[in-house]
Symmetry: C3
Subunit: 492 residues, 3 copies
């Protein structure tokens, strides 16, 4: 005898399965969006750190770059970059319910496919524009923006605004998306594990290499191409200090960045149903703290005072370094990774300035470039085999040298070298062409005056013009003869 | 034979249904709260943008208005405003488990009911104070606050603090809630679709008209009633520029607003189970970007320099414009809507100043008023019929002129006209009465000195008093004879 | 006859139960993390409020303390503090799946156990480091940090940096965790209800006593130990005002704190499945508003001007006061609690300065200490019996004096007295020892010059050196002879 209630049960169960099935999707979209918003807010942090560490006379220029890089970046990534990054065998195909994973442009070597870039999803045209794809776009977009805003610090105080604008288009459409495709979009760095047996391929959880090294390498090449600020180096090659104009601004920016990083790293699961997010968050916190403390102790002992700009850069260095390994390591390792980063950033900044003779006003090369490399290498050392089952299609969990898998470290090093080579070459090429077209550097006269009026048409702090004392700056700030430009102030 | 396990299955299933049934509620409350918190944080963005764009001598006054408008607004909306807005046929009735949808004060015309305001929920007294109602209150409250804080910019640098306080009470209890009831609380603008066949009635997803136009129209009338700042216009009617005192502050505020807007627009679903939220977020991002880029290109070409205040106002204009249509349009339309807004804001600001001779220190009329109107009109043009099934009780999805429904555009225009007429008249009336009672404008002497000491009793930057050079301001800043007021500093 | 589909149904149901069972955990972790991030962001708010209310010449010093207290605090709490706070009968045992609730060090009196501190979880070593424990650690950590950053305001402008560093270690490892264990970790204040019949024991929903009183009491003792700033008091004991150097900075900080408080209070459920979160959020909002409004009205009437620093401190006072009772009271009570706080903070600051002759540059004692006490007392008065079933193992809901349970108020008062006695004694003892070791106060010469260069090696605003006019400060600011320290600026 068939129980009469059974059909109801089966129907109810089916309905309930549908209801439950939608909830993880909704929860994961909420998580991806909110953490993406936090990453977007890091743009404010970068704006403050970079502007605070530069001089008053360039404050409007640095701020404007940090504002507009977001605008330009969104447009470029929407039109082109997203398709190049994720439009191949990566997540777009999956999220877009597209079972043909064949939109990646690949090279076949020895019978194996090595992906170079995606080819689907330009302009987010209608068919692809589902909620899941939109969430993915937003999250990837703010990561790209983070990389794009890093050179505005290293190249500040002498970069022509028009050159900055064009270069930002290149970053958002080509430079960043291609390397991101290689690591996160199913490209050849990701498949090195499967294809060549190198651990899980180049693994970078939240972007020590993809985002930060890319920003740092662009900074190094860009600062080198532009040359040092007038007055930075003496004729004998020794450097002069050029003080930050607003320490509270820089510290506020650092705290905003540390806040936003809680989106950056934990959000990179793209899923709240993966409860690893809380371990990622705590590891991020631990490394930021030990980075600040270690940098503080190191500069205090070495230079006599715990300079707050180094406390800030130490915290940022710890954050950059933990970004790749945050999901794969334990708490004590996180403390150690951050502490190394805190010392490394100080030493690296010295090398950049004194050995390489490169002028980086905010320390971006040391913070993002050097510690970005340290981050992926740290993953290759400290990954403890507790997470990352099946990552990049390779069985088992991600494991570093100290826990038994030296090949993982090797894969990380290949990722570092590929970044330096590809991003470095692209940056140099792009700036070379832009330089020919419109010039990369402002005139010496504009640089002496400060870039705000010549480039942007406004003073950052009009009431303070003339209060800058010559003693504190190698060059004298010229008074603007024509403060009242033809441009209206808002509402005028 | 009855299977003995079946009763257990039925019981288990029933329990599970209960468990699952609560999860969407919890998730939606989380979403509504967190996005509401982000909107509240926009208060900091407004404070910074408005203060940064004004002069140093009024900085404490502008900041204090932006802080206190939140306090006054919460109290007024708690006591009265929320009940007027949502205490009728709108969401309060639903959330409050009240099946009698009859607390709306309506006019009956031609056998149909036209709602004017709600009448239930004053003071959030006990019976109504459920979690769902509390979440709704919080979200609606911060939207009201956004409208309320807009006039503090347009009327800055000459508005008497006591007049501001009283007017803020009027906004939060009457001006905003009534128009919000018409559109979001089940009032006559919402039911135009059902009653008169005009599309889905006046549709405004997240407040281009309800919040921003309301703020912009109050700004226009308020700035007109107050009159221009001393020195703004010459005797021949030509305007003088009055430079922003702190560009980094204004840019930081803009980035905070762009961050908070990710709460404003996506949060307006009030539900994370509606995964449209991620498309809303991306459309918001796209329009903010194209607004900044378009404004930048336009002012660069027209005035010679990419003034950062216009980059900022362009981004804000794009955000205001996409606020109404963000859920209903595609990605390319969002780019276009933002780009139009970016140009429109510059042109509109010129018209306000040169044609209307109205002095708006921060550009609030152009940003929020003009682009608020553009936002709802853009919905009437670009809504592509992909979302909004059953909106305002009308079958089918929301569709604009370019996709086949010209009546929707007509409904949007009625909403715009109603806003101008109602909000304009109420603002004029309220300021007229307040002016009779306590006066709206500070004395010329206080205005010349700066409002900080006469009105607030403190200098914003006491160390900088006297550093303002006369050359950069039409009027001379007077030194405060009696800096040390009777008031204690904190801790004194 | 067994229905052949039944086993499938049972299997499906079992699978579904598992799937559903994980979702609440994921949702609650998301909630705890995101609200924890918001609390971490309050560090930026404190940094801005404290720096804004101090003088320009100490701005880098105050900012650096606010940055480094987070770094030091994380390391100390990771190594020791968390285990002491939560490693006993509290949540760690539960979250860690450890059924033996016996890691609390207890005193047995009259046959009952009174817990003093936990003893498990040092260094977050591997076995304990689950997602749930990590989320709990993060949330408790940022609460500890909030307490730790409060004294940096009250002791600002004369506190030696090395003393601050050591004291912060003591806070994060001992002072805070022990009292937090007593209230939130299963210690004797929590079990007073069960053991002694005093209501539900000392109940503090989100930390009016655990966080804010602890910070306030440390501030009082610390400011007393350090003594007043040079020039603060005249020989006859009358105080001199020392103006805040940057009002917009202080107001921005206040708005950031009010934003972060939406993490602080609602997050303290540690669960989004408890939809009480939205009522907690609204009560928090209401009290912050009535605090600002009440303080504004009070100072306006009493001193003639609505000083923005008092609007800010009034808002903060309302927030501190509602922190303990926010989950247990109704909306009108929240308005009342905040309004009392807004007046109380002004009166208390006067008492601190004029009666106790203690110099608190930012008003931390009045805001956090006095209103922290008012918060837990308000819970003992206004808790309306609508929430807290089974809290601290006591049947029934939490109910205050006005709703019938005077014993609850008594338990709150014991918590207040225990805080004053324990935190006060520990602070005094720690500072006594630190003073012997390295000294607590900077030299008079350094204080006169400003702490930035002597202590930190940088000027906060190097371009503004020398612009401070003597008239506005009791002591003259000395010019730094040696601006260019041996330390490199970032990138140098």
């Amino acid at each position: 005898m068939l129980d009469p209630t059974l059909p109801d049960v089966a129907k109810d169960l089916s309905d309930l399965k549908t209801a439950v099935g939608d909830l993880p999707t909704a929860l994961n979209i909420v998580w991806t969006l909110i953490t993406g918003f936090l990453v977007m807010f890091m743009q404010a942090g970068f704006a403050l750190v970079e502007t605070g560490l530069c001089r008053k006379k360039n404050a409007a220029h640095v701020m404007a770059m940090n504002l507009l890089v977001y605008g330009i970046g969104v447009v470029g990534f929407w039109a082109v970059g997203f398709a190049i990054q994720m439009g191949g065998v990566g997540a777009l195909a999956t999220f877009g319910n597209d079972s043909t994973l064949s939109h990646e442009f690949t090279l076949a070597i020895g019978g194996k496919e090595y992906g170079l870039f995606g080819m689907k999803g330009f302009f987010l045209t209608f068919a692809n524009y589902t909620p899941a794809v939109a969430a993915l776009f937003l999250f990837q977009m703010v990561f790209m923006d983070t990389a794009a805003t890093i050179p505005t610090g290293a190249m500040a105080e002498r970069w022509k605004f028009i050159s900055f604008c064009i270069f930002s288009v290149v970053i958002s459409t080509v430079i960043y998306p291609v390397y991101a495709n290689w690591t996160w979009g199913g490209g050849w760095l990701a498949t090195m594990g499967k294809n060549l047996g190198l651990g899980h391929g180049h693994v970078d959880f939240a972007g020590s290499s993809v985002v930060h090294m890319t920003g740092g390498v662009m900074s190094l090449v860009g600062a080198k191409v532009l040359g040092a600020r007038i007055g930075k180096f003496n004729k004998d090659g020794s450097p002069n200090p050029i003080p930050a104009h607003n320490i509270p601004m820089a510290v506020l920016g650092t705290l905003i960045l540390a806040f936003g990083w809680f989106g950056f790293n934990p959000g990179s699961t793209l899923a709240a149903t993966d409860t690893r997010i809380s371990i990622v968050a705590v590891n991020t916190m631990l490394a930021s703290a030990s980075g600040a403390v270690a940098a503080g102790i190191y500069v205090w002992r070495r230079y006599g005072k715990p300079d707050p700009t180094w406390l800030a850069n130490g915290m940022l260095a710890g954050l950059v370094a933990i970004t790749a390994p945050c999901a794969f390591v334990g708490a004590p390792s996180s403390i150690l990774i951050g502490a190394v980063a805190g010392v490394l950033v100080v030493v690296a900044a010295q090398v950049v300035e004194r050995t390489l003779k490169v002028d980086d006003p905010v320390g971006a090369i040391a913070v993002h470039g050097v510690n970005g490399a340290w981050g992926v290498i740290a993953l290759g050392l400290f990954a403890n085999g507790s997470y990352g089952e099946g990552w990049n299609g390779v069985d088992g969990k991600v494991t570093g040298l100290f826990f038994g898998d030296g090949k993982q470290l090797f894969a990380e090093c290949i990722g570092v070298m590929a970044n330096v080579a590809y991003v470095g070459a692209m940056t140099w090429g792009a700036l070379f062409i832009i330089g020919k077209l419109v010039g990369n550097r402002v005139s010496a006269e504009d640089e002496m005056e400060g870039l705000d009026v010549p480039e942007m048409g406004v003073h950052a702090y009009p009431d303070d013009v003339g209060t800058t004392t010559a003693a504190k700056e190698p060059e004298k700030e010229l008074a603007a003869d024509d403060l009242t430009s033809a441009q209206p102030a808002p509402g005028e």
